[in-house]
């Protein structure tokens, strides 16, 4: 199985440790993973702002980099969803469609494709799981509270395999954090209030760490936590799943 590693632009630039953790998890599973070094971004920041028409070249670059893999794995629900819903390439329409189908978010990949049953990792902390909306409602990584349907959660299931990790309960287990791409600056007041409320739900319930499948939401929550001088930290789920027992 030939895996292409898609590392979203802001993870590449600001959170390389998340990319490294993702790569190491996949390598430990014995998979052959390649990171195409000319990749940039999925185009979502422009498209969600109403500028989808400006994403043509970015999308073309994406297709050029990723057409040769069996799966494309990405440690972000939001960027994965954007590729799955919107990737177009006029020069290679078929390749774009095939990439849409082959792009998989990390926890989904581990659960559904690799069918991971146990992990030799430990993380002795109280952890709150922030369910990022695009992963939750867009990719269906877990059951959303709006639907009347049986519960399941791929990220939670993986976290339950982590030794000594204690997952805390939340009051509102899948409310949006208010990041929303450029929403976070154009609607600053509401964005911050949403983030503060999410943070409060985690801290009241004793979280030491807030984790999730999207570093963008976590970056927003981290900005609020640090401004509040809180001891609570954010950590991407890949970093927890890569906490190898020494």
């Amino acid at each position: 199985m030939n895996i292409g590693l898609f590392i979203p632009c802001y993870i590449d630039q600001l959170y390389p440790q998340v990319g490294i953790a993702t790569l190491q998890i996949l390598e430990r599973l014995g998979l052959s993973v390649t990171y195409p070094t000319n990749q940039t971004c999925c185009g979502q920041p422009m498209a969600n702002s109403g500028f989808e028409h400006l994403t043509k070249d970015t999308s073309h670059n994406f297709v050029t980099n990723f057409s040769d893999f069996d799966y494309i794995v990405c440690p972000s629900g939001s960027c994965t969803l954007h590729i799955k819903d919107h990737l177009h390439d006029d020069a290679n329409p078929d390749k774009a469609i095939s990439i849409r189908k082959k792009t998989v978010e990390l926890t989904e990949f581990l659960t559904d494709i690799i069918k991971v049953k146990n992990l030799d990792v430990h993380f002795p902390h109280k952890v709150g799981l922030h369910q990022s909306c695009h992963g939750l409602r867009g990719l269906g990584l877990a059951q959303m509270s709006e639907l009347i349907a049986p519960p399941f959660s791929k990220p939670e299931n993986l976290l339950s395999m982590v030794k000594r990790l204690e997952l805390i309960d939340l009051e509102r287990k899948d409310e949006c954090c208010g990041f929303g791409g450029t929403f976070c600056v154009f609607e600053e007041a509401v964005s911050v209030k949403m983030g503060q409320d999410r943070v409060a739900d985690h801290t009241v319930h004793g979280a030491e760490y807030i984790t999730g499948v999207d570093m963008s939401c976590l970056m927003h929550l981290d900005g609020i936590l640090r401004r509040q001088k809180s001891n609570v930290k954010v950590i991407h789920i890949a970093e927890i799943l890569n906490s190898v027992t020494k």
Binding site: N48, R172, E175, G180, A189, M194
Partner: protein, 458 residues
């Protein structure tokens, strides 16, 4: 933008200055969302009901013309007068002409978002006709001279103490009395007067049934019935999308409507009106007002399925923390944000951006309207039509340049983490809205790309 030319973001910013109030507003509406969840969980076939409702409405929208003609024929046969209004102005004129014929100066009205959309109260006021809203919530905001902030709970932004004060001023209740039961009784006594003296009563319509020509009005207070039963003339105003084909289909919608709206199993009153009683005159005004234009649009047609339950408001994390008035339209919230731009693109260009696209609305909606996808599509339409700022255009163009050229991307990365400069929310200065209440991400010393080249590439 609002009459004061304020955007949703600006009005929401103002709303958020009173943190305690925002918390109260958020919790009040979240409580309603939780009630909805409890009610829905009691129905094992909830998701099938939603699917059935969605498909019935899809069928209606694909055959709207035929159902409307069938509805009209049956209504006429039942002795109802049927009027057609192509826009808000015509609707208002038709209603006024009926009132004029009966030579009355006031009428009672029961909840109708459509008349709100058409600005009927204001129009009639200019013609010297006084409209008294008889739903408690509607009456409260009417006394306060405010538009509704929610389609089901129009005065949800008012605290009971404030209502006590308002009633003290307008209805002479004792100062400081904020007991909900007492205030409701006071409103009832005050409204009874109007019920008894109004010869014309106006209602909205929740569902019109093509096969029988009857229409259904759902209320909790019974005020629609009281008004209509006491009046000589009943005028019902109905958007053309409110049609359903058969009486049988009604059960699907009645099971969904109140549960989605407030968590009740059903509205207290679901009144069927099929023919005028002896000596009464009954009118239906069928209103288009932009609906057939929307019907022609593949991307946005689906919004016509809305049954106005308000569930998308209660679930929306942005609505709960910005209040209905920040949307500066008759219908606020997520559904308002996809309806309003088609009425006035320029004035409402901000609304599709008043969302994180979290998708909660779409999944709570009892008729499965793809609300958050339509928000995304409206953003594209608005930008293409020039409803964006010059600075945003520049930012987006720069971003597009960097992201489509791996060499520029890597180079700008290496000289200082390009995201910090390129993404509009990453500029580290006091003018940056990110930084106002959040710390910046800490700059990383390396990118993943260069780490990979150093550690993995042969």
């Amino acid at each position: 933008m609002s009459p004061q030319n304020k955007t949703h973001a600006e009005l929401a910013d103002k709303f958020n200055r009173d943190v305690e109030r925002v918390n109260w507003h958020d919790q009040t509406l979240w409580f309603v969302r939780e009630k909805r969840d409890k009610a829905a969980h009691k129905i094992a076939e909830w998701e099938q009901l939603r699917e059935a409702a969605s498909q019935i409405k899809n069928n209606v929208l694909s055959n709207l013309h035929d159902y409307l003609v069938e509805f009209e024929q049956n209504a006429l046969r039942n002795g109802i007068h049927v009027h057609w209004a192509s826009n808000a102005q015509e609707h208002n004129e038709i209603v006024h002409s009926i009132i004029k014929k009966h030579n009355v100066a006031h009428l009672v009205k029961s909840k109708s978002m459509l008349t709100e959309e058409c600005g009927l109260n204001e129009y009639l006021h200019q013609q010297g006709v006084e409209v008294v809203d008889t739903d408690l919530g509607e009456r409260i905001i009417q006394l306060a001279n405010e538009p509704p902030s929610h389609i089901v709970m129009p005065c949800i932004h008012w605290k009971k103490e404030e209502i006590g004060e308002l009633f003290h001023q307008h209805l002479g209740t004792p100062k400081g009395n904020a007991d909900p039961q007492f205030l409701t009784a006071a409103a009832r006594a005050h409204l009874r007067e109007h019920f008894l003296t109004s010869r014309v009563a106006l209602t909205g319509v929740n569902f019109g049934i093509a096969e029988t020509g009857e229409f259904i009005v759902c209320t909790n207070e019974g005020n629609a019935d009281l008004g209509v039963q006491l009046a000589d003339v009943h005028i019902a105003c109905m958007g053309i999308e409110k049609i359903i084909p058969k009486r049988n289909h009604l059960s699907v919608f009645l099971r969904l409507l109140a549960r989605s709206a407030t968590g009740q199993p059903i509205t207290t009153y679901s009144s069927h009106f099929q023919k005028p009683r002896e000596g009464q005159e009954m009118h239906i005004v069928l209103v288009d007002n932009g609906r057939s234009e929307r019907l022609a649009s593949d991307d946005f047609r689906n919004a016509l399925k809305c049954i106005r339950c308000g569930a998308c408001f209660n679930t929306c994390p942005v609505y709960r923390r910005s209040g209905g008035h920040s949307y500066h339209t008759a219908v606020a919230g997520p559904i308002g944000s996809i309806l309003a731009p088609s009425f006035d693109m320029k004035k409402n260009a901000d609304l599709p951006f008043a969302s994180t696209l979290c998708g909660s609305c779409t999944n709570v909606c009892p008729v499965k309207i793809d609300i958050h996808d339509q928000l995304y599509k409206w953003r594209q339409v608005l930008v293409k039509n020039g409803h964006t700022t010059a600075s945003k255009k520049v930012e987006m163009n720069v971003m597009s340049q960097v992201l489509s050229h791996p060499m520029i991307y890597k180079f700008s990365g290496s000289v200082g983490r390009w995201v910090m400069r390129t993404l509009p929310f990453m500029v580290n200065n006091k003018f940056n809205p990110w930084y106002k209440q959040r710390e910046m991400p800490e700059a990383s010393t390396t990118s993943f790309n260069s780490w990979y080249q150093n550690n993995r590439k042969a």
